[in-house]
Amino acid sequence: MLGALDGGAAHGYEIARRIKATSEDALAVGEGLLYPALHALERDGLVAAEWVPQEGKPNRKVYRLTDEGRGALAKKRKEWLRFAEGVSAVLKPGVSGA
């Protein structure tokens, strides 16, 4: 979700859409499960949220990354890439013991 918000502020549905589109449908979780996670990120200060007024419609809650969130995202990206490289190396055909 932090990665989805790296592209700019978004409301819940847009975040779900970005995750699904960017992952080419590989990541498609129940959209309702985004909200507990978003609330957790907001409590931890990694995202900030505000209700944005809309013309003729109810207000919409929009989330954006905070500076701490960007730092956490950068850290997670690094960790994930390292992990993925390790797994790829182990799964490579011909690696002894694999």
């Binding site: 790296d6 592209g7 700019g8 502020a9 409301h11 819940g12 549905y13 847009e14 779900a16 859409r17 129940g30 959209e31 309702g32 499960l33 909200y35 507990p36 996670a37 609330h39 957790a40 409590r43 931890d44 200060g45 419609k57 109810p58 207000n59 919409r60 809650k61 954006r64 990354l65 500076d67 701490e68 960007r70 730092g71 950068a74």
Partner: protein, 255 residues
């Protein structure tokens, strides 16, 4: 169908959450489902099916409500409290060791202070030049260190101010007010008393600090605050420039 789902969500949320949070969750979910339905309608899907698929994609109301409630109940890590505690601890350390530190090695004292100031400035420069904000940790460490060191400086000045000077050369040596003091035995006695007081303050800064009382601590805090604020202002300009730059680029939207 949509209203029935939202009603179910409101019921489940009402069991788990306070009224305000529950209402906000229902409002947010309504917006989500309306967007989802609209996207399906734009694809040509008929309204009833669009509503059904949107609700299906969202998942069970109970799961969402319980998930939000579980997060609300999770204890929040108090980072702010830890930072304040660290700042306070470093301030006390500065107060206790500052005078001794300065007396033993003024060069090292100012070198450490200079390093803290460089850390604060580094954040300002990085924030101004970089596309991404520099880690807040740099700023936090710099500001906390300057707070501690300014606390030491503030109380060092206070310890020795009362005795007429700092370091090896008390103020009165160069002051016209005390010119000619050496000519009389009373004057020499007074000078020896002041020198003894300076030596005592330098030998036992904590003891003298406690003897001065709470007003000394209060003034030391004010000096620490002013010094740290001035140092913080040096990086504040960099932070402001970075914020303006981000705003000009449209809130940081990136592909």
């Amino acid at each position: 169908m949509l209203e029935a789902f939202l009603h179910r969500l409101a019921e489940e949320a009402g069991k788990e959450l306070d009224a305000e949070t529950a209402a906000a969750l229902v409002a947010e979910t309504r917006g989500h489902l309306e967007e989802s339905i609209q996207a399906r309608l734009e694809l040509g899907i008929e309204p009833e099916r669009a509503e059904r698929e949107a609700i299906q994609a969202f998942g069970e109301a109970q799961r969402t409500a319980r998930g939000v409630a579980a997060e609300a109940a999770r204890p929040r890590e108090s980072k702010r409290g830890k930072v304040l505690a660290a700042a306070y601890a470093l301030f006390i350390v500065g107060v206790v060791i500052g005078p001794d530190f300065m007396r033993l090695s003024p060069a090292l004292y100012y070198a450490v202070y200079g390093l803290a100031w460089i850390l604060v400035l580094a954040f300002g420069v990085l924030a101004f030049r970089s596309r991404r904000p520099a880690p807040r940790r740099v700023l936090s460490i710099g500001l906390i260190a300057t707070l501690g060191l300014w606390g030491g400086i503030g109380t060092t000045w206070l310890h020795l101010w009362h005795h007429g000077g700092m370091g090896e050369t008390p103020r009165w040596h160069a002051s016209d007010r005390y010119a000619g003091e050496d000519r009389t035995s009373e004057g020499r006695e007074r000078r020896e008393e002041r020198n003894a007081a300076v030596a005592a303050a330098q030998a036992d800064p904590m003891g003298n600090f406690l003897a001065f009382g709470p007003e000394t601590l209060a003034i030391g805090i004010v000096v620490a605050g002013i010094g740290t604020a001035l140092d913080g202002a040096a990086s504040g300009l960099g932070i402001l420039a970075f914020s303006l730059r981000r705003r000009a680029r449209g809130g940081g939207a990136r592909a």
